[in-house]
């Protein structure tokens, strides 16, 4: 499991996940992601799952947990490039509405507009 966290000047955190996201991996990366969020006054998180090979409900827990972190500041959550199986898991969990189409750059531009809007 690998993750790459990039922060934009607008306070958007782009998190690219690679490999398998299960309970074991989620426990290892949660701390890193939370620290990045608290350090950099993050207003939105973009989860790019394009390189993620596998995700179970630990992924739902990880994303829901960070949504709770962002809730006090009305932060935005966007999910990009989930596989067909991941889309079903998001659907069961009521998170489908956070799946956006488009590239990272397009999403960052749109989010920047919303956040500064």
């Amino acid at each position: 499991m690998q993750q790459l966290i990039q922060l934009t000047v607008d306070g958007i955190a782009v998190i690219r996940l690679q490999g398998d996201l299960d309970h074991h991996a989620a426990n290892r990366i949660r701390e890193d992601i939370s620290q990045a969020i608290y350090q950099g006054s993050v207003h939105a998180i973009v989860w790019n799952l394009g390189d993620l090979q596998f995700m179970d409900s630990a992924g739902i827990g990880l994303i829901l947990g960070r949504m709770r972190d962002l809730a006090p500041i009305n932060g935005q959550t966007v999910i990009l490039n989930p596989s067909a199986t991941m889309q079903k898991i998001f659907q069961f969990s009521g998170l489908s509405k956070y799946i956006w189409q488009g590239t990272e750059d397009e999403v960052i531009r749109t989010l920047g507009g919303i956040l500064n809007g």
């Binding site: 398998d20 299960d22 309970h23 074991h24 989620a26 426990n27 949660r30 596998f54 995700m55 179970d56 409900s57 630990a58 739902i60 827990g61 990880l62 829901l64 947990g65 596989s83 067909a84 199986t85 079903k88 898991i89 069961f92 969990s93």
Partner: protein
């Protein structure tokens, strides 16, 4: 029966990947679609994770056993632990129900397991352990619309 496998391992989280890998190999002969494969892997991962964090409360001493059989294109898998058991199975299976929200658990495990299998049963007894059994029928090779 065409094949049979028993895999027992210590209830530590790094073995969640081990269980998924073993099941992936067990299913290879069926030439499953990408979705069939990832759905069964998800079910295995959910059941094994439950055994580790709920059955044994992550005490790193218990044993989880995955027993799989295959008859033609139907796979039956049993995931069992001898942990603390589930007080109320029906409640545990409700979507979004979790006893560990502070640990970022979503409460979606059983919902996912039910959705991705053809048949699922859960037997549990307090202090004795939990057994999850599921069946999955794989589509015939060469069926239309199947991405492999």
């Amino acid at each position: 029966m065409d094949n049979e496998m028993t895999l027992s391992f210590l209830a530590v989280s790094e073995n969640e990947a081990l269980a998924r890998m073993a099941m992936t190999s067990f299913m290879t002969v069926l030439d499953p679609t990408i979705e069939e494969l990832s759905e069964v892997k998800t079910v295995i991962s959910e059941a094994v994770t439950n055994a580790i964090i709920h059955g044994y409360e992550e005490n790193r001493t218990g044993i989880v056993t995955v027993y799989a059989t295959r008859v033609d294109r139907e796979v039956t898998v049993t995931i069992s632990d001898q942990g603390c058991g589930i007080e109320d199975v029906q409640q545990a299976m409700e979507p979004l129900y979790t006893t560990k929200q502070q640990m970022d658990r979503s409460g979606m495990g059983f919902t996912i397991m039910e959705s991705f299998t053809d048949q699922l049963s859960v037997k549990s007894e307090r202090g004795k352990g939990t057994t999850v059994t599921f069946k999955k029928q794989f589509q015939p090779v060469g069926s239309p619309f199947a991405a492999r």
